[in-house]
């Protein structure tokens, strides 16, 4: 189990927790003086895809169940009860049932994956996730031969989620993957960041991570996984099919109708951060392009 996909980034690339705390202090001190960009930040470190800081990853989130502002999830998500947590796994599986998060964790091998994360809003981060391959979970519950898709559902708790009182989307948030996408070794269930438990604003206790797709595909705080024969609904696709397709692969050549997807702003570069070119499949082209062979990616957005 595990380590079927080899990371080009290693744990060496992760800034140790204590080191980045120091760096924060350094930057804070320098910023008070002149400007933040005067801090000696090796440009080669940027080339090597330095992961974002814990602070950046955990304070800048889209999790509309807790509000539409980027800082709303960090402010409101503490209300989410994640213990106990049950995931209903059903549909075309051999062992359907309600699985406690602890049960799942006891069966899975946790590893670290440093992935690029590209939001459909044209910003990006690099995140050191901890978690397990979704394929391992699916193998454990046994996928039946007629299953073609995997549907996911986020918890819907009006008492704990202030954002769901407003009809921004048709709650609960749902997402889906084709079975081969779900079984791909890059696809993971994240349960941690920087070796710590994943914070609630990032989708605790368990969220999907599909690094070659726009961030909204990586559904958070999952309570249900259903294997299906038909393509399942995906919330943003339902809300606005012209802007958000079922596939939503990162693709610099196909613009969002309201903005270009050719470039992105990496979070954490400060006020004058330069836009960077967006990579096909978010840089995972070698690994995943074959999944879409023969498909017109400007049609299947």
């Amino acid at each position: 189990m595990a380590y079927r996909w080899t990371n080009t980034l290693t744990s060496e690339d992760v800034t140790p927790y204590s080191a980045y705390l120091n760096r924060r202090q350094l930057m804070g001190g320098a910023a008070a003086g002149v400007i933040a960009s005067s801090v000696p930040m090796a440009s080669s470190a940027q080339e090597a895809l330095e992961p974002n800081t814990w602070e950046e990853i955990t304070t800048y989130n889209n999790f509309y169940e807790f509000g539409t502002g980027k800082d709303d999830p960090a402010r409101n998500a503490h209300r989410l009860t994640i213990d106990p947590w049950t995931v209903q796994i059903d549909g075309l599986v051999d062992k359907p049932g309600d699985y406690s998060f602890a049960d799942i964790m006891s069966q899975m091998t946790i590893e670290e994956r440093i992935y690029r994360f590209r939001c459909v809003e044209a910003w990006s981060m690099v995140i050191p996730w901890n978690g397990f391959e979704l394929a391992d979970l699916l193998d454990w519950v046994g996928v039946q031969s007629n299953a073609k898709y995997v549907a996911f559902e986020t918890a819907l708790r009006p008492d704990e989620m202030p954002g769901v009182s407003r009809p921004v989307l048709d709650w609960p948030y749902v997402e889906g993957l084709r079975l081969d996408e779900a079984m791909h070794p890059l696809t993971m269930m994240a349960t941690g960041i920087y070796g710590r438990d994943i914070p609630k604003q990032n989708g605790a206790p368990m969220r999907l991570v599909v690094p070659w797709k726009y961030g909204f595909k990586s559904i958070k705080s999952i309570v249900r996984i259903t294997l299906t024969e038909e393509e399942p609904p995906a919330s943003w696709n339902v809300a606005n099919p012209r802007e958000y397709g079922f596939y939503s692969n990162v693709n610099p050549n196909v613009d969002h109708p309201r903005w270009s997807q050719a470039t992105e702003r990496k979070i954490g570069g400060g006020l004058f951060a330069k836009r960077q070119p967006t990579l096909m499949f978010n840089g995972y082209e070698d690994e995943v392009a074959s999944l879409y062979e023969g498909m017109d990616l400007s049609e299947f957005i």
Binding site: M27, G28, A31, A32, I35, A36, N52, E55, E56, T59, Y60, Y64, T68, K70, D71, E121, W123, R166, P167, V168, L169, A239, N240, D255, P257, R258, W259, S260, A262, T263, R265, I267, G268, G270, L271, F272, A273, K274, R275
Partner: protein, 204 residues
Amino acid sequence: MVDALNTGLRRVPPWLLYVAAPVPVIWIFYLGLTGQLGVDPAKVIEHELGLWSLWLIIAGLAVTPLRRFAGVNLLKFRRAIGVITFFYLLAHLLTWLVLDVQFQNVWADIVKRWYITVGMVAFALMLPLALTSNNWSVRKLGAGVWRKLHKLVYPIAILGALHFLLLVKGFQWEPILYTLVIVGLLATRVKWSNLMTRTSLVRG
């Protein structure tokens, strides 16, 4: 109450607004430069300046109804409010151009993306208003023409609200509230009695 307010306002010179106007802009950029606007400061500044522009447009549109319905006279501040609105809009536009999209595909964005098209049209319509916001222009154009020209602020306000409506993801209340306020303020200018007479004439 209203009289006291008006008397107090009479003592406030309009140039004070021009002195105060840059303060929020400088403050927002100071916060951005010192890392106090979160991890994506350019977006926050862009959004804040956009909101300030809308607030200022609403403030400008509120002057007439405030006088008519509440008796509060802010007329002498209206030109300053308008000129300041223009500069906030300019700051918003420059933030988008320099810090956000960084001059990439700007023209393509303007013609292709509806919310940007709408925003740019609003800004373009604002230019003649900003350029004629001086006594010389009022004299040169004549008060009637000048007043007619400055009614462009009505479509500008509508376009501003539309710009906000078009850019949010999903269903959100905030831009809808702005739109309702702006439409409400414009509705106070419609001479309903005239409209009624006209309709009844047609009917008659």
